[in-house]
Subunit: 673 residues, 3 copies
């Protein structure tokens, strides 16, 4: 378990590099990421390459024993290239070009840009093909950031037609699968199908879903181009990409197929402000929301079922969220431990030193812009020291949470309620699992499920016979399946199935959906479950049980009242529970608690918000994202690897505000005093 | 009084058509609307027509005794046509084209599209010219939906210049009427006048108003093209169009001149969410706001002073409002009765069966997508049975509410307060009339007024001498006229009149407007009327009575205080009341109550919100849009045609939640217990 | 001290002009502004000039002894010109042209438009070169109104490249000063630098700042073109421009260098609604916020350190704010006095008569549109009579508030908190000074400071060594300097300085900024100053005192607590106070009160909101912007020039709601009873 940093030597005078490298080594840093966004310095004019500075920087770092991760610098093509080949620019949905001036303004489908990419990546790879300090590569940077997965340029229009031809073979098939008789939308040819640019009313949902798939595949292809070029030169390098948090438009499962190492960029105090429904508390502004962060850890860990890296870890205050409070004391250390608990093998802070020029001047580094140590440097050093001895195996999670990006895109194309957000809905179930200290693999629905005691599928919206069979097999083999609302609503072309919802899953569920409703937040929505009253939100279904038992009935006023809301089917060796609402937290805790018990999964009582425990290889990390100190009871004699303070005999462990403890026990051995 | 349905046989396998027709007949359905949006199936490639399926569908329906209404399918030109003649596309205000992919993306002024329209409509009309089952036609669908009345393309620019030349004859006249000396806006020629595209500040209000008139006239012309083509083939067909609810940009009075039958599309639970100022209650989310709905009934009934149809009646939950709760039990039946009470002769539910593909998958039908009966099917069947025997004459309303779309457009071009919405302001007066059970004709100001006991004109904003004379004649003949704020503020070119407001009406009113003010919602606005305090909102005028009496004074704090707010002029055989504020509901109830009394109009006491009564041809419909049951007192022995339950001797009638009663008596015979 | 009016004779029949002139003279009006927006009437077609009407209008006014100010009519080029030379149109940031139809749609950098400007201005100037009634000129109208300083057209792109070449000489210098290594933004040439059009993420802050400077300089140049042409013809004319209130994008300091007379347009009841953070009270809707208005008086007075004019004074209700209540009785008179107290020598009401046509029909004049006197006419007449005898010298302010537009632009390009508004932050300090009756010069930081007892610099964001030396000299000479948050954060290229903040000022301040934070409004932010608790908002700094004393510590919860928040350095002959927060009003009052005391500045106690006093040349104006009457204590025998009522011996003065008193004494002689 180790620590690293992202470094931009090209921003600083040559004479500073040695002391930077020394300071890194002293902090216990192992990995240094280099050369991101460096195309204009590597090739200041066409064909004129300047690699010496990078050679030298690697050498200076390598001399301190640091390992180098290089980046393909394609996120920022130089101005001379854009002026020579302006056709590489993306276009907004209304046709406005996305101009030079920031980053990610190139189109993934531009033949010109693929040519240029090939040129710069090959050249760089060859230069460092046998450099002993270079251990791997990051492709590009944060594919899709700033809403750039989906482009509406002419290259994309042509590529989309080809993609459709490949998928459907004949235009008649497309017309039939999509259902284009509606509103006279029949297409005479694949060439006639355009990207969904502005039109008076909504676009056809089947077109939208396929356009989102196509745009995603364009990025997958473009990433594969990098990976192939790098592997051709040196197949011992790892090829990685740095994904983003709570990110909708790019299918990490698909991109990961071409990667050796999945990484992501974690900025907890920004995420609570710009990609979560609830307003953040002051504690969250200081340290983030542990469940929001770890949901991404667990997602990226789940893509390739392997340890992941945090390629960029927030180092202090940052520039891009609405507001930027200082993180709590120790928060930067806390985040490194939290990532490790969820399966990270390395955490690299972004960046080494605050940059004097450009868009990120308000983004801290481990060092201030005058070169002195900033708050993050001390935290990073402490984390490095604490993690150094702690080599733990891959996380072994008892529960799978099923997630398919295509379901996300389908729901987004027809949310049918202003606040039905697919990811927030998943997070409701995820939180309930994490509140009880359960490790969760967030995986694709077609993953092998046999090792999971419990499978939670909040919204498998697009349902095929194959997928239904896969789930059915799991339950038949004794598995326990918890399904949420809007499951099985559509076929894989984003059309309604022939039969009632949940379509191909109806047999397994033993019930169908009689009606669905959505509501504004002002309406009180409630149900009765096991004799107790609970609230739900946004979405209601009236279930029509066939073989299943009704376990909750609506108490929402009016026609909804007394309709079945949750059913359970125990007809096979396992169980299936179908939840026909979006539960509020308390209801989610109860449903998930019952499911864990049925499935025999070890867990804690419901922990307070912000305090989380996670087990990895016999070690339990206790991470405190609040400003209140906490004392934990643990079995007497529990070995305590990391802990702010502890009694002599280790039967309690004190955890400071924004602090961490690592103890050797099971997760259910830990209790809050 | 009858029931119908909209049906799309082309979406379903041929083998389903017979059972569909049987199920329709069993439900008591009389009319079936067909072929809307069907161009691409009727003409899959240029000149290659496929009418067989439609012939057959009509035959299958006709065999069950069903009558067919056909549609000209021009709302959705096929993709091959758009690709051949892309010049037919509309342009947004900033020039962005409105692309293929949904509907209504064609320009009404495109010569190319008029040519194509002529071609398909003629062909269709000829095909069914002597079909015994086809009784009439709907032109296109919902002209102007999705903000498409106003286009900013080059064809429109040229057509606008021609329209202006026709209207003003010389450019000097235009410059003088508009007042283009202001800000150097003088035009050297008609060609030089452009559509109002983006400019740094506001556009000239006279240009805006004429552009809105021109755009409206373009639709009127385009509709006339359809009507003429159809009538040429068979002049026994009725020609109808389906208008929308609370719709600003298209003048239904003008379009209706070319129609035999006016119809509109009624979606009560959507309207309360997306086209009304107040947030809906749960009851309104379940059944809508009866006044909002009936205001449209009364508007469309008033266009041609004839019974109208609801061409599309909400069949259950729908796809397009922000949220979509299930309608209350019986609501679909309630809406059919409510429409009938207000003058509908037929109510067609949209649509027969929920569609599996395309944009409206979340829109219910009378049947579910798996073919089984949905909630609306039972309601529709009940309504059909109840209405079957009930043949009543045209509504005879004692009160006229004057409305001119041009006033709406003028106010919208200069609202002078963020929440001064012309239609909401009209609705304030309309509600007060309906709260007392009074039937109201919403008519154009130049309609003959002699048969009305009371005329209410909330905002006759643009005032000509002719219009003033018309109103003056009405009052001179003993009529009672209630005028609201912002009346007579402008001449018909959207300029201030020479004299003070209300301009040409000042003599009749016996007062002028000294000052006007608008206020944010945070300021308390009040006045004293007849010794009692009342609130008003948004708008205040200080009146300067000449011959008129002051009947209310402002009590709003500051300089407004003690200024005359409402005046009454009794100088002629009738009376004129001018209300210089936008009254809140209680004040509106009082003013309108006094006006009804003065005019001798029969009415009830103020009814609770959501409970409404309406008389048609000696029958009183009691419609309950709330979830509370109600008991009504009626004269002993009142015949009760429809009623959930009643005592033996019929001196009370019980009305269920979302229920209906139809009793034979006068409206003032009915009282809530 | 005098009164004037803006008049548009071309909007009215010739026969009305004489009575208009007579009515003006009777009101005591001295100046009349003419010919704004009149290009299309002066030159109805190319080369065909019609000056007769203007000759005659000037003659009619001159005959009544009125003095005429003419305008260059370039804010509204005629349609024939736009159609001939469409390249003069501005372009929006996304390339959408700004079309004809309102005003200000021309590009300042268009060579074509500069040619046309030269033509019309020369012609006009020559025509009136020796007209005895014409005393001066206004150039164009409200440069930059409707967001038009910044244009993104091709002419601007070329001109920007030239401007950069002029500034940086070599592209290497630009790359180095901006720091374009970041995100590969190195430019190969000046031609390659484009205006900041849409790009996926933020633009480079150094590019943005220079683009804002360039756009500003384009206006400065364009104004100079007018000034030079006018002065060539008659160098006794004054050349003026009418600026706007609270206006960000145009540097009035720079434009004023080419003007003889600075004027601005004051609309108090609009400003409180559309350019201030807080919602207005009813009193503010009736009369405005005196500090918001006078901050502009003091800004424009400070540009050339000379008396200014209000070129357009609100005459009653206006058309453009969200809502438009009637001003309080006397408010139009109050505003004239208030302006005079702050250094105005003339106040011209806009406009003479409400216009019947065009965009401003809802904008009052001194006369109604039917020609009768409106409320403002009586107020203006009274103000004229009262000011007539009152000839007072230039304002002599003891305190300077430093303001540099470039700091405003830099903060706006990276606010780092949604509610960090540079101008609101300045206003916090300005209010605290005005609440104590202190006159304030708002001046450029490089102004000579030696005559000021106290200098307040809320945010000198961009700091150079020269500017730091200038401030250091002031303090070394015994001056007292009060600095606010975010001072010295950047160098003049919008990059971080080498050292910590406040960069070049650190020595003078005796402290550095250790960290900064921003917060949402939901977090309680507080500190302890001199034993008392106070609130602050939005922004927090942790100060690191070197030689300075800590005078306030944060009490904000969490890691912020106990960090130094305000420091004071008394190391030289003067003092420096650095405030590391954005203070709420109470804290600002305390800090500013202490600073005034230290600097020995005469002041009142903190006055109630809305009641303000201001001294000019031995006269104290008491202006009451509230609806409550006030009684003031003054020294016995104080001469009272204007006062609604007073006791015999003048030891108290009564001030009506929205009233004024002018007494001859010192500001600290006045106290509220
Ligand atoms: Zn593209
Ligand atoms: Zn058009
Ligand atoms: Zn330009």
């Amino acid at each position: 378990m180790t620590i690293g940093v992202c470094y931009f030597p090209e921003h600083w005078p040559r004479e500073q590099w040695e002391s930077d490298a020394t300071n890194m080594a002293e902090a216990g840093i192992e990995y240094v990421r280099l050369a991101e966004f460096s195309w204009a310095v590597l090739e200041p004019e066409r064909g004129h390459f300047e690699f010496d500075w990078l050679d030298e920087a690697i050498e200076v770092l390598g001399a301190q024993g640091l390992k180098v991760v290089l980046c393909t610098p394609t996120a920022t093509p130089p101005k001379w290239l854009v002026d020579e080949r302006p056709e590489i620019l993306q276009a907004d949905i209304d046709g406005t070009p996305r101009h030079f001036g920031s980053r990610r303004f190139y189109c993934f489908n531009s033949p010109a840009y693929r040519e240029e990419t090939d040129r710069i990546v090959s050249r760089l790879a060859e230069r460092y093909g046998d450099n002993p300090h270079v251990v791997g590569w990051q492709t590009d940077n944060e594919f899709g950031c700033h809403r750039t997965v989906r482009c509406y340029c002419e290259d994309c229009s042509a590529a989309f037609s080809d993609w459709l031809a490949e998928k459907y073979d004949t235009i008649e098939t497309l017309n039939e699968r999509w259902g284009t008789t509606f509103w006279s939308q029949r297409y005479p040819s694949f060439e006639a199908v355009d990207p969904p640019q502005p039109t008076p009313a909504d676009h056809h949902p089947s077109l939208l879903l396929d356009y989102y798939r196509f745009a995603n595949d364009s990025v997958v292809d473009y990433n594969r181009l990098h990976a192939n070029l790098l592997r051709e030169v040196n197949d011992e390098w790892f090829v990685a990409h740095n994904f983003m948090g709570d990110f909708e438009t790019l299918d990490a499962h698909a991109v990961a197929d071409d990667l050796d190492l999945v990484t992501w960029d974690s900025y907890p105090t920004g995420f609570v402000q710009d990609r979560r429904e609830d307003d953040p508390t002051l504690d969250e502004l200081r340290a983030g929301d542990p469940d929001q962060v770890s949901m991404n850890h667990d997602l990226y860990r789940g893509t390739n079922d392997a340890p992941f890296w945090v390629m960029e870890q927030q180092p202090g205050d940052v520039n891009w969220p609405p507001t930027c409070p200082q993180p709590g004391d120790g928060a930067m250390r806390l985040w490194a431990h939290h990532a490790t608990a969820h399966g990270a093998d390395a955490v690299l802070y972004f960046r080494w030193r605050r940059c004097r020029g450009g868009q990120e001047q308000y983004h801290a580094g481990l060092r201030k812009h005058d070169g002195s140590a900033d708050r993050g440097y001390h935290d990073a050093s402490q984390a490095a020291a604490e993690l150094d001895g702690l080599d733990v195996a891959h996380v072994d999670a008892p529960v799978a949470l099923l997630h398919d990006y295509h379901d996300w895109w389908a729901i987004s194309s027809q949310p049918h309620a202003p606040d039905f957000d697919y990811w927030e809905h998943l997070r409701t179930y995820y939180r309930a699992l994490r509140a009880r200290g359960v490790q969760v693999d967030i995986v694709h629905p077609e993953t092998s499920l046999e090792d999971y005691a419990l499978v939670v599928a909040p919204t498998l919206h697009l349902m095929s016979e194959e997928r239904a069979d896969h789930l059915s097999d799991y339950v038949s083999d004794g598995g326990h399946l918890l399904l949420g609302a809007r499951t099985g609503y559509k076929d894989s072309y984003n059309r309604l199935p022939d039969a009632r919802q949940p379509g191909a899953l109806s047999n397994l569920v033993g019930a169908t959906v009689d009606q669905h409703e959505s509501f504004p937040a002002s309406v009180d929505l409630s149900l009765m479950y096991d004799g107790d009253a609970y609230d739900y939100r946004t979405w209601s279904e009236w279930l029509n049980p066939d073989e299943a038992d009704v376990v909750a009935e609506h108490t929402t006023a009016g026609v909804t009242e007394a309709k079945p809301a949750i059913i359970r089917n125990e007809a096979r060796r396992g169980t299936v529970t179908y939840v026909g609402v979006w539960p509020e937290a308390e209801l989610a805790n109860t449903i998930v608690g019952d499911a864990l018990q049925t499935a025999g999964v070890t867990s804690t009582d419901v922990l307070p918000d912000g305090l989380r425990v996670a087990e990895r290889d016999g070690h339990v990390w206790v991470t405190n994202f609040t400003s209140d100190a906490v004392t934990l009871d643990v079995p007497q004699g529990t070995p305590c690897h990391v802990g702010e303070s502890k009694t002599e005999r280790n039967d309690t462990v004190d955890v400071d505000p924004f602090g961490v403890a690592v103890v050797e026990c099971r997760v259910d051995d830990v209790a809050v005093e």
